[in-house]
């Protein structure tokens, strides 16, 4: 079985909307049977060498935290927020040339997702909207001030994560 034939993986036990199927290709690295499982017939896709060369604990932890919110029994994120957050984070990881900083996450009251990167004196938040017709934002904060940008494009995300990482 090759990568082209197995483009999805499944996140089990999401009470609000059952199991979630997410495009696999951008999420391959760092995933190692932790917060989710792969459908059985995709097992041979996961050769040890595939994962070992790209294991990224901090990225994996971040993704696990996002997925864990969908597995809460009450007030989880919408499916749109979940899949958008996973894809944004995966693409972000692919585009940076420094270690992915570990983040925490929360569900917002309206079903969106906030991903928080925090260190003393500097904060970055990716605000993923609950619906397709709502806007996403990047919030940044340091000693000079704070602002929310209505832009979650890959270029902007990379720029602000670089700002955060090189504080």
């Amino acid at each position: 079985m090759n990568a082209a034939a197995t483009p999805y993986y499944e996140i089990p036990n999401c009470p609000t909307y059952g199991h979630v199927v997410v495009p696999m290709e951008p999420l391959l690295t760092g995933v190692q049977k932790k917060a989710w499982v792969l459908p059985g017939d995709y097992v041979e896709y996961w050769q040890p060498r595939d994962v070992a060369s790209a294991l990224d604990v901090d990225y994996d932890t971040t993704i696990s935290r996002v997925i864990a919110m969908a597995q809460e029994e009450e007030d989880g994120p919408t499916l749109h927020a979940l899949t958008t957050a996973l894809v944004l984070l995966a693409n972000l990881r692919d585009q940076i040339d420094f270690p992915f900083p570990r983040a925490t996450a929360s569900t917002t009251p309206d079903g969106g997702i906030h991903v928080y990167w925090e260190r003393p004196g500097r904060t970055l938040v990716l605000a993923v909207p609950p619906r397709q017709d709502a806007a996403g934002y990047i919030y940044h904060e340091d000693a000079t001030g704070h602002a929310a940008l209505r832009d979650t494009s890959p270029q902007t995300l990379v720029r602000w994560l670089t700002w955060f990482a090189y504080a």
């Binding site: 809460e72 925490t104 929360s106 009251p109 309206d110 938040v125 934002y137 919030y139 904060e141 704070h146």
Partner: protein
């Protein structure tokens, strides 16, 4: 945590600066898993809330506060005077002497930047007193 429905909280005299209040954290993601301290998500207002709901430590036993909600993940304390320094107000609820509202935190949908900033400030000021 559920606050009062719009229009029902008291707009009367703010509480004295020295007052300590309890804020209940109901969800796992209200706590930072790295530090086990409150994170700003615990201080974001819901659309049906006028303010952030808190209990007065002098008027409400900790376990009484915990028992007031079905599922509580953690409880933190906040110092009212320090919230005034942020430009917020804290007013008693005339319908429940144990209860008060933190007013002045915007809805994330109205002003995300200020909501997240104030949430971060409140999280930073909070002190954990109980966790499940």
């Amino acid at each position: 945590m559920s606050g009062q429905p719009l229009g029902t909280s008291n707009q009367s005299t703010p509480l004295p600066c020295g007052t300590i209040v309890y804020r209940l954290i109901l969800r796992n993601d209200g706590l930072n898993p790295e530090t086990n301290r409150a994170q700003r998500a615990a201080f974001l207002r819901r659309d049906n809330e006028e303010g952030l709901s808190v209990f007065l430590r002098d008027k409400c036993d900790l376990h009484e506060a915990i028992g007031s909600m079905k599922k509580v993940r953690a409880v933190v304390t906040l110092h009212v005077g320090r919230m005034y320094d942020l430009g917020l107000s804290v007013v008693p609820d005339e319908n429940d002497p144990r209860h008060a509202e933190i007013l002045g935190v915007p809805l994330p949908s109205d002003d995300l930047s200020t909501a997240l900033y104030l949430g971060g400030q409140l999280a930073g000021q909070s002190r954990p007193v109980w966790q499940r």
